[in-house]
């Protein structure tokens, strides 16, 4: 059902900069409220949490609820003081975990 994540992080920054991070993942975010043609409830399957870590430290995390629309897009800011790796993690209701990483060079 899912999902290739897309993230956009600047390649370089100066120490102390506040950078914009954008993330998008394709997922149909089945809310559990819909019924199929035969009247049976379509089971809920959503991405229920998202985490962004920088060099092992959480910089942004949230739980996601069924009202969030398909293909959730998230944009947030982070202050960077050193070079390192952003790690992004999405957790699916079915237990799948989607991960991706981006490097940033801080001078």
């Amino acid at each position: 059902m899912a999902s290739r994540p897309r993230v956009r992080v600047p390649k370089t920054a100066s120490a102390g900069d506040v950078i914009d991070i954008k993330t998008l993942i394709s997922h149909q975010m089945e809310s559990g409220q819909r019924k199929d043609a035969d009247g049976n409830t379509i089971p809920r399957q959503i991405i229920n949490s998202f985490t962004c870590e920088f060099n092992g430290q959480v910089v942004f995390a949230c739980d996601i609820q069924p009202a969030v629309s398909a293909n959730p897009y998230m944009e947030f800011k982070a202050k960077v003081n050193e070079s390192g790796t952003f790690k992004f993690t999405w957790v699916d209701d079915d237990g799948s975990v989607y991960e991706t990483e981006e490097q940033i060079e801080v001078s």
């Binding site: 897309r6 149909q28 398909a70 293909n71 897009y73």
Partner: protein
């Protein structure tokens, strides 16, 4: 004695308020994708065109929706472009071929294709759009099953192929084969009122574009952004799906996708948007 004056002023204010509620001009702004690709979204119409100016549906959308299309990262339609690229490179069918086996790099081989379809197909004796061309290729060259109408793969691959013409002006060849007679038929359909609501395409998109139909802001109904990412469906919407939806909303019986009627309509409606940049995947409400 002063009361009537105040009443009249109040009535005028009400009337003006109501007018501004039901009418909204297309936004006066320029669409530049990722700050790089300058799009033609307002062009002077050809002499024989019913409008003076051809305007992309992008101008009729809200600020937030317009911003989504201007940023290829935020544009959810780009997910389907990526999916289409995977399909492009996937081997299927009895001949052991993918699209790329013959067409190689789509960025080169498919450049401009999306801007020039629908195109006359001599063998079939009718105009082909991208979807029909894909299916013909799958059957004749790949030995694969043709896609059913609006199969997710059909939408993704069509989106990917049209996206290779992003920014190119729509320009179809009406001289080829019998394209002109299909255009004529499409024009007839465009101006023919149908359904219990007795509406033609032209009733809304020519007579009332810029105004609201219920909560929806009517555009000129151009085809240059299709397949379009529609926020309402949270998915790609193909042109024939949109045609059918519109006709259904007039409470008429609606023709099959890729039927002669809808292919004629596609030829005509695409012509109406000539000069506009291909926006696939456009983002709409």
């Amino acid at each position: 004695m002063r009361t009537p004056g105040i009443l009249a002023a109040a009535a005028l204010a009400l009337a003006m308020g109501a007018t501004s509620l039901v009418f909204a001009e297309p936004a006066d702004e320029e669409l530049v994708i990722d700050g790089e690709i300058e799009m033609q979204t307002r062009v002077e119409a050809a002499e024989d065109h019913p409008f003076d100016e051809v305007i992309s549906g992008w101008h009729y959308r809200t600020e937030e929706t317009r911003a989504l299309e201007a940023d290829s990262f935020a544009n959810p339609g780009m997910l389907y472009v990526e999916e289409g690229e995977e399909i492009w490179n996937t081997v299927e069918g009895s001949q052991g071929k993918s699209c790329a086996s013959c067409h190689d790099d789509a960025a080169e081989s498919m450049a401009g294709v999306g801007a020039s379809y629908p195109k006359w197909n001599e063998e079939a004796g009718k105009p082909f759009n991208i979807e029909l061309q894909i299916n013909a290729c799958r059957e004749q060259n790949m030995g694969a099953e043709p896609y059913k109408f609006d199969a997710p793969q059909q939408k993704a691959l069509t989106t990917f192929i049209k996206h290779q013409s992003l920014g190119e002006p729509v320009d179809i060849d009406l001289e080829a084969g019998e394209m002109q007679s299909w255009w004529d038929r499409g024009e007839d359909l465009y101006y023919t009122r149908t359904g219990q609501l007795d509406l033609a395409c032209a009733t809304c998109h020519e007579g009332y574009n810029g105004q609201y139909i219920r909560a929806d802001h009517l555009s000129q109904g151009n085809a240059n952004g299709f397949p379009t990412y529609r926020l309402k469906q949270a998915n790609m919407v193909s042109l024939h799906n949109r045609f059918r939806g519109c006709i259904r909303d007039t409470r008429a019986e609606f023709p099959d996708a890729f039927s002669d009627e809808l292919m004629a309509l596609e030829v005509y409606v695409t012509w109406r948007g000539e000069g506009l940049s291909v926006e696939t995947p456009a983002v709409r409400q």
